[in-house]
């Protein structure tokens, strides 16, 4: 291992590694070329971690890939230069580029589950590049991979490589992918949203592992994310991108303390949205001792869940993936009749199965989904999407229906000009607004919001949350708000239900749940939410190690 690093010469910190000048990239869509990256300069020194943040569509990923000299199919680099270690990656031959990829530049994708080949063992995929580039023999590469697994704090590093990708968790797979990228000790690694798909509690471990290993090998990295708090932990320097242009660039600490541009400031302000809680008395939905399971009752996904939802208030259901949040929504809507227990709605027993509920009852409970892309039929225009519940529940037709659609559009801060648009002609935030309007069209008592802001950019998230709050004030509708994001909970909830492995761990008013003392799981969950403090991760790991609350975090600090 040592000889390998020596062969390339010592990795001097501070020498320029990547230099991008005046980069323009175009993408092909709708039979036209559009400029995605519009003249961006980027400098990266050896051993430095550069954070690139921006909304979706800002050109972050395109820029990240361009740093490898790669343009996705349907994209082309039109202008500019990309120097990597003194060579212009645009001008070198394809063969030369391929020699650099994997061995000196590596890439870690957002979804490790999609990036691994499910038919091969993890270790075979980890060592593939090192062997393929002729850097080492299979034996040494495998030995090295096992030591990397150890450094990345994967459990049982000697044997985990023998497993197939589906046999390990998402967070472990993401770390295995980092090991894969590290196998050739590259000079540069591009991390493209590596923790976005993970739960907060898992995210902490992956972040700590990535940060350590990058530092140990003195690797330069470009860390692409939309999450400010994450980038604050990882990067030495931050670049803010918008519409393919650079907005601001500064060292992490000064950027966090004194952002200069308005756009950057607005990004920073988003997380401060908070709503004073209001207690409710009259209950609209009472869930009592509900058990639910998929299939023939093998594993209980909901275990003795009891929740009370007050009328006109917001109850936030918080938990990691697999905690049973979404199953709870399915039990309420009747898609998954509970095995045991009862649900009362408006004081009356709710028929368990969807088919046994009448139209009036269906109208009163509406749902908004996480991803507006899949929640809107791509072949129905806005008029049909919002108009259908009006017609179906209230019998509005023709001009009356159109007038009502216009009314609803104004309610969600859009207007009649959008009625003829198809979903793909709307932005993500607009699509989610249409989904909200569709739910409101039914004039419901209760709206179940399943992660409605998770797929959106931060600024758009804030707008949607504000809209939901305003609608609640005006219309008195009740929300059951399912989310994994604590910042969202602060912004919208009156009461909080914390779920873990199908059980309710804690429930109560927002102020109670969010202030200590917490039950152990709530504590873990709350402390894992990244904060906008560059020292947050370090402090957290130290604290966890000293309280010995979390064994993997303890190990993390010991090994580093």
């Amino acid at each position: 291992m040592k000889s390998r690093t020596d062969a390339k010469g010592p990795r001097e910190k501070g020498k320029v590694l990547v230099e991008i000048k005046g980069l323009h990239i175009e993408g092909y869509s709708d039979d036209r070329w559009h400029e995605i990256v519009k003249g961006v300069d980027l400098n990266l020194n050896r051993g430095e971690v550069l954070g690139v943040i921006g909304e979706s569509g800002a050109g972050k990923s395109t820029l990240g890939l361009a740093a490898m000299g790669f343009a996705r199919p349907g994209c082309r680099i039109t202008k500019g230069s990309i120097f990597f270690d003194g060579r212009d990656l645009i001008k070198v031959s394809d063969a030369e580029r391929r020699r650099l990829w994997g061995s000196r530049i590596a890439y870690v994708a957002q979804s490790a589950a999609a990036a691994f080949n499910p038919a091969h063992r993890i270790i075979d995929q980890t060592v593939e590049t090192a062997i393929g580039h002729g850097i080492s023999s299979r034996e040494t590469a495998e030995k090295d991979a096992r030591s990397l697994y150890g450094r990345l704090r994967l459990p049982d590093p000697d044997r985990i490589g023998e497993r197939f990708p589906h046999q390990v968790s998402g967070g472990q797979l993401q770390r295995a992918m980092t090991a894969m990228a590290m196998s050739c000790r590259p000079d540069l690694i591009i991390f493209d949203e590596p923790t976005t798909a993970l739960d907060v509690t898992t995210q902490v471990e992956v972040l700590a592992a990535i940060r350590d290993i990058v530092e140990q090998f003195n690797t330069a990295a470009i860390y692409i994310t939309h999450d400010l708090a994450v980038v604050a932990q990882m990067a030495h320097r931050i670049m803010v991108l918008r519409y393919g242009k650079l907005v601001e660039e500064a060292p992490t600490r000064s950027m966090l303390k004194t952002p200069k541009e308005d756009y950057t400031k607005s990004l920073w302000a988003v997380r401060k949205l908070a709503k004073p809680e209001v207690r409710g008395s009259d209950s609209i939905l009472r869930i009592q001792n509900v058990d639910a399971a998929y299939g023939k009752g093998l594993v209980k996904v909901l275990d003795n869940v009891t929740i009370n939802v007050p009328r006109g208030r917001t109850v936030a259901v918080v938990g990691e993936s697999g905690s049973g949040k979404s199953t709870l929504a399915r039990a309420i809507t009747g898609l998954l009749p509970p095995l045991k227990g009862q649900i009362h709605f408006n004081g009356k027993l709710l028929p368990p199965a969807l088919a046994t509920r009448d139209k009036e009852l269906l109208r009163r409970i509406q749902m908004i989904y996480q991803s507006p892309d899949t929640a809107l039929n791509p072949r129905q225009c806005v008029r049909d999407v919002i108009g259908r519940p009006l017609e179906f529940y209230h019998g509005f037709t023709g001009r009356k229906r159109d007038a009502k659609v216009g009314e609803l559009l104004r309610l969600i801060e859009m207007d009649e000009r959008y009625v003829d648009r198809l979903p793909n002609e709307l932005s993500g935030g607009q699509k989610q607004r249409i989904c909200i309007a569709r739910a409101l069209a039914a004039e419901p008592d209760l709206i179940i919001c399943d992660e409605v802001t998770s797929a959106l950019d931060q600024i758009v998230q804030e707008e949607i949350l504000k809209l939901l709050l305003r609608l609640q004030k005006e219309l008195g509708v009740t929300y059951v708000f399912i989310t994994h994001d604590i910042a969202t909970v602060r912004a919208i909830a009156d009461e909080i239900v914390v779920m873990h492995q199908g059980r309710v761990v804690q429930q109560g008013a927002k102020s109670e749940v969010l202030s200590p003392p917490h039950p152990a799981y709530t504590e873990l969950l709350l402390s894992s939410v990244p904060e906008m403090d560059p020292d947050w991760l370090t402090n957290l790991l130290v604290k966890r190690a000293s309280t010995q609350g979390n064994s993997s975090a303890r190990k993390a600090v010991q090994t580093s």
Binding site: E26, Y28, D30, D31, R32, W33, H34, E35, K38, P73, G74, R76, G244, T333, G334, L335, L354, R357, K359, L362, I365, Q366, M367, Y369, S371, T374, A375, L376, N377, P378, R379, Q380, R388, P389, F392, Y393, R417, Y418, D420, R421, E425, L426, S427, G429, Q430, R438, A442
Partner: protein
């Protein structure tokens, strides 16, 4: 360049269907144009056969096997009927029957396929196994067998081939519908309380239509060839109705004399098959989201 792109928030005038179609046509490659022109001319011939054809469909005009002349551009057949007239009427019969057959099998297979995808469970299992049984028997032999049992009339041909061919539509519509039924908007419709036909025809069908239309074109070729083959074997469309398959058979002996007459209906079959395939290829390419790497 980016200024021209549709930005979120900016309101664009609704693109009408006609304008969309025009835009699509402008980008069509030469092969697709060729295919479309051939199909349209076949369609015109078929629709206006009595107006275009110089003589009656089964009118005997003179001696058998006359060579081409000014009176009979393509000569006469084995009974002395005008070959050109027979070809034009043949378009009407063969294409007409094939089209009705495909429409029938499309609606049958498509409906059952989407139903299977929606309900899964035993319905899916039962339908799936029946389709397996049907598909395990070679289609032409199965059709021949059924036709010899029930007798060969145009109606019987249509029904039998439609039934046998609907298995293909069933399979493809089931598999594409499977990808759509899991979408949230279908669940949203279900939660709204919509009935099955709304979910089938308003939520699912519009989203799988491009694939099915492409399949429609391909199946049309196959059905058309099957009918021609059946006619050639004598169990298809019965004389005196003009039909390309039987025309090939009836005049087949001429081949030994070096005459091109039997090749004409065969060529007509081949040309239409190629044309439909060209159009389908282009359509599939457009709708599958495949992109030319540029």
């Amino acid at each position: 360049m980016s200024e021209a792109s549709i930005k979120a928030g900016e309101v664009v005038a609704r693109r009408t269907m006609a304008r969309n179609a025009l835009r699509l046509l402008r980008t069509a490659p030469a092969t697709a144009w060729f295919g479309m022109i051939v199909i349209v001319s076949y369609g015109v011939l078929a629709l206006f056969a009595p107006l275009i054809a110089p003589y009656g469909e089964s009118q005997v005009m003179g001696d058998a096997y006359l060579p081409s002349s000014t009176a009979h551009w393509l000569g006469t057949d084995q009974l002395g009927r005008d070959m050109l007239t027979r070809l034009i009427y043949g378009a009407r019969n063969t294409i007409g029957i094939a089209l009705i057959t495909v429409l029938l099998s499309f609606s049958l297979g498509g409906t059952l396929g989407i139903l299977s995808a929606i309900f899964r469970g035993w319905l899916d299992q039962v339908l799936g196994r029946i389709v397996d049984v049907f598909m395990s028997i070679p289609q032409l032999i199965f059709a021949l067998m059924l036709l010899s049992i029930v007798g060969s009339s145009a109606t019987n041909i249509i029904l039998i081939i439609a039934l046998l061919d609907s298995t293909r539509f069933y399979r493809i519509s089931r598999s594409v519908a499977m990808n759509v039924v899991v979408m949230d908007y279908v669940e949203a419709a279900r939660l709204r309380g919509e009935n099955t036909s709304w979910i089938m025809f308003r939520e699912i069908l519009p989203n799988i239509l491009p694939t099915l239309v492409a399949e429609f074109g391909l199946r049309f070729c196959f059905v058309f060839l099957t009918i021609s083959a059946l006619s050639f074997l004598g169990l298809g469309i019965q004389p005196p109705t003009a039909d390309w398959g039987s025309m090939v058979r009836e005049n087949a002996t001429l081949i030994t004399y070096g005459k091109f007459t039997p090749l004409l209906p065969a060529g007509a079959i081949a040309l239409l098959t190629v044309a439909v395939n060209f159009v389908v290829d282009w359509f599939l390419h457009k709708t599958s989201g495949l992109r030319d790497e540029k």
